[in-house]
Structure formats: structure tokens, C-alpha cells
């Protein structure tokens, strides 16, 4: 089954045994628990990176796995299961983004405290998270979905009911903002486009 190169790098692009999917289609809760074990963290992290709130991200996880339970019978295998599920996760995240007011910037300390992180994050991880959380939520969505999940501008435009140039402009402004931050903070400026 052909998978776009960027999509293939997504954490969602993992193989799922056909027999596990067959059991899930028959409503086997053990099989659903196994799908949750494999995909809950990728869904949670995608939503968390965009929404910047633990409870909102957990709402997305709950919504996605309830949808999987209700709709897995309709999954026909046209795309790998993980990418089908990723689409559910992206849609649920965008729904959250539209239905709630999120702060333009997320307070890193509050976010990490809410996540119950056992200790400080390694420097590189903390920097990456802090940079992302300084973007407004919609820009975070475009950056995460385009740069990490490999969605094209055409796909993003459809998701957000906007034009392709809108998505390109959001991404370009977000990257410029990240570049300025990196420059100001002296972090790996040369590695940005």
C-alpha cells in the first residue's frame, strides 16, 4: 500500500495485524484496548501539541477512540489503519480548536505541571516544546500537521475550510516567528529554512 514519504515517518504509520483489526470489527473490547495501547499516545501528543492543554488533549483521545469503536466496521483498509485513525485524531483536534477558546500562547510551566512530568525535560525537548507553545494554536496546528505529519497545503486548506495560500501564509509566518525566537535565543538558527 503506497504511503506518502512524510506520512510514512508519522508515528501513526505503524503496522497493525489484520487479525487484530478483524477482532476490533467484531466489537472485541480486548482488541480495542490493544489498539488504544498502540495509538493513544500518538493521538494524545498530536492533540496536546496543537491545543496545549492536557484535558483538551484527553478529550480528543476519548472522542477518537469512541469513534473507532463506532466506526471501525466501516474501515475498509484503503489506507493504513494508523493513518485512518490519524485523520480521526486531526478532525477531533480541529473540532476542539473551533469549539473552545485557547490562549494565544501556552504557559509552559502550567502545561508541564498539568502533565505531571516527573522532572525537568531534557534541554532539547524543552526548547522544542517551548518554541511550539509560543505560537498561536492554529499556527501550531499547521506547523505540526505540515512539518511533522506530512499533510500538504491542499489537505490543510480542506481541513480548515480555507484556501491553500492561507495555509501557506500561516506556516510561513509561524516559521518566521520560530526563526526570530531561535535567533534571539541563539538556538540552532542555521538549521531553519
Amino acid at each position: 500500500m503506497p504511503v506518502e514519504p512524510t506520512a510514512a515517518r508519522s508515528v501513526f504509520a505503524q503496522e497493525v495485524p489484520p487479525e487484530l483489526l478483524a477482532q476490533a470489527r467484531h466489537g472485541d473490547m480486548q482488541a480495542h484496548a490493544e489498539l488504544y495501547r498502540r495509538f493513544a499516545a500518538p493521538v494524545f501528543n498530536l492533540a496536546l501539541r496543537v491545543l496545549g492543554e492536557r484535558t483538551a488533549a484527553e478529550d480528543v483521545v476519548q472522542e477518537v477512540f469512541l469513534r473507532v469503536l463506532a466506526r471501525v466496521r466501516r474501515y475498509r483498509g484503503e489506507a493504513p489503519f494508523g493513518l485512518w485513525l490519524r485523520r480521526l485524531a486531526v478532525n477531533a483536534t480541529i473540532d476542539q480548536l473551533r469549539s473552545r477558546r485557547f490562549l494565544a500562547e501556552t504557559d509552559m510551566d502550567a502545561l508541564l505541571a498539568g502533565l505531571g512530568a516527573p522532572g525537568p525535560l531534557p534541554e532539547e525537548q524543552a526548547e522544542a516544546l517551548a518554541l511550539l507553545m509560543r505560537l498561536p494554536p492554529q499556527a501550531r496546528a499547521v506547523v505540526v500537521l505540515h512539518e511533522l505529519e506530512g499533510y500538504t497545503h491542499a489537505e490543510l486548506a480542506r481541513m480548515f475550510d480555507q484556501t491553500e495560500s492561507y495555509s501557506k501564509s500561516i506556516l510561513s509566518r509561524a516559521l518566521a516567528r520560530l526563526r526570530r525566537r531561535l535567533g534571539r535565543e541563539g538556538i540552532g538558527l542555521e538549521s531553519l529554512p
Binding site: P5, A33, A40, A41, F44, Q62, L175, P193
Partner: protein
Amino acid sequence: MSPTPFPPTAAQLRALPHFAPDPALWPRIAARAQRRQARRTAAAACCMLLLAGAVGTLLQTPRGTTPLPDWQARSAALERELAAAAPRGPAPGPLADALVGVDRALHAAYVRGAPPAERAALWQARSELLESLVEAQRSGLRATRI
């Protein structure tokens, strides 16, 4: 063909930390899914009982009568009563779910040109469901149990 390389920003973003959701989340999701399933089963049973009752009543209706417009009009009147009693729509529950089921069955009946008696049975079932919903709404009860 070699895969398209990520832009450099992506390399930095890949350093993002990974977190896990609350370990108690799956049990909550599974419990909620089971409650939904139980509600659907109850709604389907409720729907079947109402349909069976409506068909039984229609079989006893003397020939030559045309009950279809009566049930349809009754349903429309009850719909208005329900809208007045519950402007934001009926409380979710088996009755509301059963109403959705009857509406689908009605739509399907019209699409395939079902005979008037069958449509009348469905309109009757719909009216009876709406009566129960209006009653539940007026008594201030949430229709969560049959």
C-alpha cells in the same frame, strides 16, 4: 526514489517530548462505549416494541379507512408541543434514540415506496414516541430509562 527530506524545522520539532494520557482514560472510554451500546440496544428494543404495537393496531383497523394522514398530523402536532416543552430538543436517552431510529425507518419507507399501511405504522410509532417524550419533558424527568 529517495523520500522527500523533511524541512530542517521538522528535525527540530522531532525533538518534541512525548507524553502519555492519564492511565485511567481507557477504562473511562470503555465504560462510556458500553453505556452507549446498552442505550442503543434499549432504543432498538423500544423501537421494535412500538412498531409491533403499531402494526397490530393497524391490522385491527377496518378496511377502507385511511389512518395515514391522522398519524402524520398527530406527529406534527406533537412535534410542536415537544418544541415548546423542550426548546433545546429532547433530553438524550432511549426514547430520543428510538425517535431517530423511527425517522430513519420512515425515510427508508418513503424512499422504497412502502405501502401506506407500513408508513402509517411508522407514523403511529413516531407519534407514540413523541407523546412519551412530551410527557417526560413536562414532568421534568429525563427520559433515560424505559
